[in-house]
């Protein structure tokens, strides 16, 4: 009897500790999700009461060429942003994991973009990539390469956004990788070198597999953030030129807060939600199979 009561008390205390987080996530996370799901079955301008729309918003979604264009651009963006970030972050993390003079300074430098706001990043990149007067084109010109349009060229703008966001997220990915690399037990590395592994082979066969949980985490995290891309676009190209950077969430923003078609915007939101959930489940499943655990 006393045991059960203690258990109950433990439960209560546990929930008590978790309550602030549960309430916050519930109010600012779950409620809006459920609410926007409900909205997606209405015609609403977001302020006056909506009317029931049945599946009309979803029918509009399927028939909307702008939606499919935006979806395609979003996938292209994610397919570039995530691998490029990972491919750059790991070598940098490996380099920063050495005992070299001034390593703290280098680590600090790498993590600066992480603490820089997207707005500042956007203004800086807009300047650097200004087609006429930017530093990047001046450098290209100096070595005899043709000047580029970057954010101003419909054919290049999306790639310019990829470059900018990779820069912004690189510091985060490096820190995660660095932490993972520092958790690789030294005795495993020593053992591999005793067994005759060179530096490269021990990286390939010992370190890389052991940081795969970090890779898995970054894959999921960067993909989720990539699918939700908005702020970097808003502060640089506003979805242009000629919609070249109108990704899904930017399209949603346009529908919700420029055209005030709240129901349709909510339907787009639900589509993004499903997309993110599907990607995340796939990746988690794949990760589980490829994990190595250090016991």
């Amino acid at each position: 009897m006393t045991l059960d009561r203690r258990k109950l008390a433990d439960h209560a205390a546990g929930w008590g500790f978790a309550a602030p987080a549960v309430v916050l996530i519930g109010v600012f996370g779950l409620v809006p999700v459920v609410w926007s799901f409900a909205l997606s079955f209405q015609h609403t301008d977001l302020t006056s009461p909506g009317t029931f729309a049945g599946g009309e918003n979803y029918a509009k979604l399927v028939a909307d060429p702008l939606f499919w264009d935006a979806a395609r651009r979003t996938l292209v963006y994610v397919a570039l942003f995530v691998p490029v970030t990972l491919a750059l972050a790991l070598p940098i993390a490996v380099m920063l994991n050495q005992r070299i003079r001034g390593v703290v300074l280098y680590r600090l430098a790498v993590s600066v973009p992480l603490v820089t706001s997207t707005v500042a990043t956007g203004i800086m990149f807009s300047w650097l990539a200004n087609p006429q007067f930017g530093l990047v084109n001046a450098a290209l010109d100096a070595v005899g390469l043709p000047k580029q349009g970057f954010f101003s060229d419909p054919g290049q703008a999306l790639f310019a956004v990829v470059a900018m966001t990779v820069w912004g997220w690189l510091g985060f990915a490096v820190i995660i990788y660095l932490a993972a690399l520092q958790n690789v037990p030294r005795d495993l590395l020593e053992a591999s070198s005793l067994d005759g592994c060179g530096r490269a082979r021990s990286f390939w066969h010992v370190e890389l597999p052991l940081v795969s949980p970090a890779t898995g985490f970054l894959l999921v995290w960067l993909t989720i953030n990539g699918l939700q891309l908005f702020d970097a676009v808003y502060v640089t190209t506003k979805g242009g030129p000629l919609r070249a950077t109108t990704v899904l969430v930017y399209h949603l923003y346009n529908e919700a807060f420029v055209s005030f078609d709240g129901g349709y915007a909510a339907a787009i939101g639900c589509a993004v939600f499903v997309l993110i959930a599907a990607f995340t489940l796939l990746q988690l499943r794949f990760n589980r199979r490829s994990h190595y655990e250090v016991r």
Binding site: D45, L46, T47, S48, S117, V119, I123, S126, W127, N130, Q132, F133, F151, S152, D153, P154, V235, T236, T237, K238, G240, P241, L242, R243, F257, V258, S259, F260
Partner: protein, 422 residues
């Protein structure tokens, strides 16, 4: 219209002020009985506005106003609608002219027609027409003008002299303008700058061109597009000829660098409003002239409006706004901010000569209000959609991605569809 005001500063302020807004929204309205006026003024404008509100408050204990910075006017409509949704709207909100139809269908928005037209002392008809039209939808008045601007040609005198080109005159034609821009270009310099982000900032300059060529945006009954006309074609062709053929136009991607480039002598001419004059460096000697012409020298007004909400807005905030727009008080505000006069009787005040002396460039803009602001954007709920469509069309021509004919035909189809759709 404040489309031109420096983006970088504004963006930073917007982000910073988001926090302030959150706090302001949370405090709840009416707790202290003050009516809230949301505005986007900073620096000199904010100081002048604060001073006037403080003076009003000392003499009107029952109609106290509280000025609340909205974080920047670019998203004022969105923020106001969000305040409706939260059930805690301000009594007055500063809005771009093109936003008003987004508010007129709401129960919060007040029909002020009787209170304004019926008040002889206020003198509604004395206000410049562009401001009155912006506040009026389907014959009903929903607010008062906050700012009346228009576009004129601002040019760098030194660059003209160096290139030995005669300064722009009142009788400048499109051909004069194009050839001057071409001669002023080259060597990392552009004759003209055009905001090419596809927003209303792109569209309103095109509308001025369209009107100059004798065209119209919509047919007289407002049910069909009318810009796919000979005039529309001429306007689009001028843009293509200058941007694509001559390459004499700096295409501003929306980060509003054109003013910095004008300051550094990289851009020789701007089509802009009085709000930019204060940001031109002192060492840049500039002139102001009316826009070049085709059939007419039409320009476009960018009127902003104080829109009024709720019963307290009618009874407590409107008297403050009326006072603010009285000739003497507004001239006082204009003296400190460089804003254009808002009503005819203000120009007739004896103190107005002092304003002209202090802001020499503004005379052209003021004269424009009477002479060259002949048409205005239609105040219809479909306008934001029309603006989006036209913005894309103009952008595609400026970037050389579409021919004028094709861009016009396609956007006409989309505009007709938008007009028929509701």
């Amino acid at each position: 219209m404040a489309h031109g005001r420096g983006l970088s500063r504004r963006t930073v302020l917007t982000m910073g002020a988001a926090l302030v807004m959150t706090a302001a929204c949370g405090t709840g309205s009416g707790g202290d009985g003050k009516v809230k006026v949301w505005h986007g003024y900073t620096d000199k404008e904010a100081a002048a506005f604060d001073k006037l509100a403080a003076r009003w408050n000392t003499t009107h204990p029952d109609q106290q106003v509280e000025l609340v910075f909205n974080g920047g006017n670019d998203n004022a409509l969105q923020k106001t609608l969000a305040s409706f949704a939260s059930g805690n709207p301000p009594e007055v909100a500063y809005q771009y002219g093109s936003s008003i139809t987004g508010l007129t269908g709401r129960p919060q928005t007040q029909d002020l027609t009787d209170l304004l037209r019926g008040d002889a002392a206020f003198g509604w008809d004395d206000l410049f027409p562009a401001g009155r039209e912006a506040a009026t939808v389907d014959g009903k008045i929903y607010g008062v003008p906050a700012l009346v601007d228009n576009l004129s040609l601002v040019y760098n005198k030194k660059l003209f002299d160096e290139a030995e080109i005669a300064h722009p005159t009142e009788s400048w034609t499109w051909d004069d303008f194009r050839s001057a821009a071409r001669k002023l270009s080259g060597d990392g310099r552009f004759g003209w700058a055009y905001v090419n982000d596809g927003t209303e900032d792109t569209v309103w300059r095109f509308l001025a061109l369209l009107w100059q060529a004798g065209g119209d945006l919509l047919a007289a009954d407002g049910k069909k597009a009318a810009f796919d006309s000979d005039a529309g074609l001429q306007a689009m062709r001028l843009l293509r000829d200058m941007a694509v053929t001559d390459k004499s136009v700096y295409l501003d991607a929306g980060d509003q660098q054109y003013l910095n480039l004008f300051n550094s002598g990289r851009v020789a001419m701007l089509w802009t409003g009085p709000w930019d004059l204060g940001s031109i460096n002192e060492d840049v000697s500039y002139g102001v002239q009316i826009l070049p012409g085709r059939v007419t020298h039409a320009t476009i007004a960018g009127p902003d409006t104080f829109v009024v909400f709720g019963d307290n807005g009618r009874t407590k905030a409107l008297p403050f706004l009326k006072w603010l727009l009285s000739a003497e008080i507004h001239l006082e505000f204009a003296m400190e901010t460089g804003h254009l006069p808002i009503r005819q009787s203000e120009v007739d005040l004896s103190g107005y000569a002092e304003f002209e002396a202090k802001y020499p460039g503004t005379k052209v803009f003021v004269d424009n209000l009477a002479k060259n602001v002949t048409k205005s954007r239609p105040n219809i709920p479909q306008y934001p959609k029309i603006s989006q469509v036209l913005g894309t069309a103009v952008q595609s021509v400026l970037l050389g991605q579409a021919e004028p004919e094709a861009a016009l035909a396609q956007s006409r189809g989309e505009v007709d569809q938008a007009l028929a759709g509701s």
